[in-house]
Symmetry: C2
Subunit: 431 residues, 2 copies
């Protein structure tokens, strides 16, 4: 963790501050919104994640001597801007969808209000965090749906940058994963951690039996033994002979899983190990998990596909200025007119419209704060005038986000669970 | 940056150490190798990146009080293992392809030698770093090839986790990008940084003209003005009127680029701004860059596609035990026999075979260290008995890797530059 998060940003955020300070426009009040134009991967819904991490990073967005010296030595901004940066602390207000909430195209998932300069500085960092974490949570939520009541563990750390791996473990947990292999996610966010042994452990020993004995001596018979280093039927026989029928679980990491799982289940049962669970971990994604629904699998371990967003490794969220004051203090709604990237000006409110049975029917994005009957307001204050609402961060914030996610998904129509590509399950209605 | 990198790892690395210490096998000498079974995305070659970052992280792989306390409180390992971890420092030897070198399926890009426990602990971290950084560098190298002599800037920080963004900027630079938007990459690795203004800056001001004047007042006429917030021809006219024909560049971030670029070039020329450059930044990947080869573009800015590996966001490298000693001190070659994930046992050497014209013809992976005439040895020592070779890290290491990459690519057959999916441009020959 870097003490200051202030250089985790694009150079142009600072050059804009520099020019706006000179022009006298840096202090105009502004509203920036984070939203997506579409759901990457033609998903049915998106999942907001990263908010709690972002709040921590905003707090640490300070320019200390090390940052100021580097900016000065590299002539990134003028001297008066260095002075302004030295005193920088975000004193505005951030509201947003609570972490774990689902979202749709146009949903204003984060609204940042304050002076132009203090808000524009947060653009890159806010998008880095929300785009990655939300991509992972969106993919993870589909995997959890596909797995039904069976637990899913995140084990993709080795397929993501070493810090993104921690964020991915956190995001997957928010989306309903049961645990992670990543220890730092355990320490920092209290995500439950899991793991026993890799093929290297079996290969290190003079025989598979010695390896199994070594593992059981230390981790007990409730451990999970990896049975596909050499020949699976032989390994299963050895595992139960060594551990007894009380062995916790066997893990299968290769092969044609529906066939292999059925064979292993039959073998375990024939050996009296009826309570020994089967966990599978072979390049699974939501489709592979769904294809195993009828197989006697007890739990899934998902690696690569969840940490890379299962085909959509970033969310496509943008951070756009939608309104500002002019010199007379009047609010002006603004929007880019570019042919393929137009946006809607003005500060938005958002509501989810529910039918009489409590099922979500549409995403309302409104230019006024008028909540209609049967609508649930989606924006909550996260950081008010520089002060973070503590309930949204730390391990407690993660737990809260996990609950938020479960209840938001429960509200969606059943078609939300479809894994095929398609339209968002709720239409976004501008009001 | 976390003081200790030791928990950026999977729990099972620690439970294996725990069990091996109990079994008396933790100190067996081992050789682990990092390699890929195939090139993700059916690329013609891969690019090794992340090595210099990994060396820093290995040095910081220490279990301090904070880590030990958390491991104890969560019963991750036994007490005697905590004592062992408290004294942990990697004292083995790491050799590998120098950062920036190209690689192929089976290339032993990293070899880690030492006791089982000290080596297995590094698995997750080594793969996290190499898989992400190499995926970015591999995609970036294709973009640089596609751009020919025109410079390419990396500007995808907002589409990657906030720390991965820094690693991506570094990896893209190694692969030949000219600069990055990411300030932390500038500070930490001396990658040149670039950036001027976003659409928000234009929208903030009362008119596009005021915004352009504000930018030029601070950044000078050699700056780059963004001309697609409203109407491009109007913006270009305003830009030259405000800045004069000495304006540095205009940036176009939307629209049908081949058409728009030609129009803007004609307009700039007609306004006498013949030296004003055109930079384009609209969702480019290597294919879009190639499609602009005949357009009067002066430079490219690539965002999303490079930081997500342009369709292959992780490299698929694995870290496998290939040999260990037994209790008699004899070396045993080992390999997993799993049906779809078999590997080749034994410590490997690697050579690139070149023809009489200096063009690479095959990747030789050999079980003995016998270099034939016309072969270039690929493995170099990176860290010997715990001591890092300083030339491979820091900003100097990045510069070295960039040169390594340029010379390695120059050696490849011309077909290596093809952007279509296909077989690796060099066959891997096991000897």
């Amino acid at each position: 963790m870097i003490a200051s998060s202030a250089l985790l940003t694009d150079r142009y955020e600072l050059t804009m501050v520099d020019a706006a300070l000179t022009a006298g426009t840096a202090h105009r009040r502004c509203v920036f919104e984070v939203f997506t134009r579409r759901l990457s991967g033609a998903r049915r819904y998106g999942v907001v994640a990263g908010t709690g991490r972002l709040l921590d990073l905003v707090e640490r967005f300070r320019f200390d001597d090390a940052e100021l010296t580097w900016l000065r030595d590299n002539s990134v901004v003028s001297g008066h801007t260095l002075d302004w940066l030295a005193n920088y602390r975000f004193t505005g207000t951030i509201s947003g969808y609570p972490e774990g909430e689902v979202f749709f195209p146009g949903s204003p998932v984060l609204t940042v209000e304050g002076g132009f300069a203090e808000c524009v500085l947060l653009e890159t960092l806010a998008l880095s965090v929300l785009n990655y974490d939300s991509a992972v949570a969106t993919a993870a939520s589909r995997m959890v749906n596909a797995a039904g009541n069976r637990p899913v563990t995140e084990m993709g750390s080795r397929r993501a940058g070493e810090h993104s791996a921690v964020a991915a473990a956190r995001a997957a947990y928010i989306a309903g994963f049961a645990a992670t292999s990543n220890l730092e996610a355990g320490r920092r966010w209290a995500v439950p951690t899991m793991g026993t042994a890799a093929h290297a452990f079996t290969l290190l020993h003079d025989s598979e039996e010695e390896a199994f004995r070594a593992q059981i001596n230390t981790l007990g018979t409730d451990t999970t033994l990896l049975v596909d280093t050499y020949d699976i039927p032989t390994a299963v026989e050895t595992a139960i002979r060594v551990a007894g029928p009380g062995l916790g679980a066997v893990r299968i990491d290769s092969g044609d899983l529906p066939v292999v799982v059925a064979q292993v289940r039959a073998q375990l049962d024939s050996l009296g190990a009826r309570d020994t669970r089967i966990t599978v971990t072979n390049d699974l994604d939501e489709h592979a998990v769904a294809a195993l629904a009828a197989s006697p699998v007890d739990s899934y371990g998902v690696g690569t596909s969840v940490v890379v967003g299962s085909g959509s490794p970033t969310m496509g969220m943008v951070y756009k200025l939608v309104a500002h004051t002019n010199d007379a203090g009047e609010w002006i709604s603004v929007a880019k007119k570019s042919v393929d990237k137009a946006s809607v000006g003005g500060r938005k409110q958002a509501y989810r419209s529910l039918d009489a049975w409590g099922t979500a029917r549409s995403e309302i994005v409104a230019l006024d704060a008028h909540q209609m009957p049967g609508e649930r307001a989606l924006l909550v204050p996260l950081l008010v005038q520089g002060e973070i609402d503590e309930q949204f961060r730390g391990a407690a914030g993660v737990q809260r986000a996990r609950e938020q996610h479960a209840s938001s998904v429960a509200e969606l129509p059943a078609e939300a669970m479809r894994l095929t590509r398609g339209d968002p399950v709720l239409p976004t209605v501008y009001r």
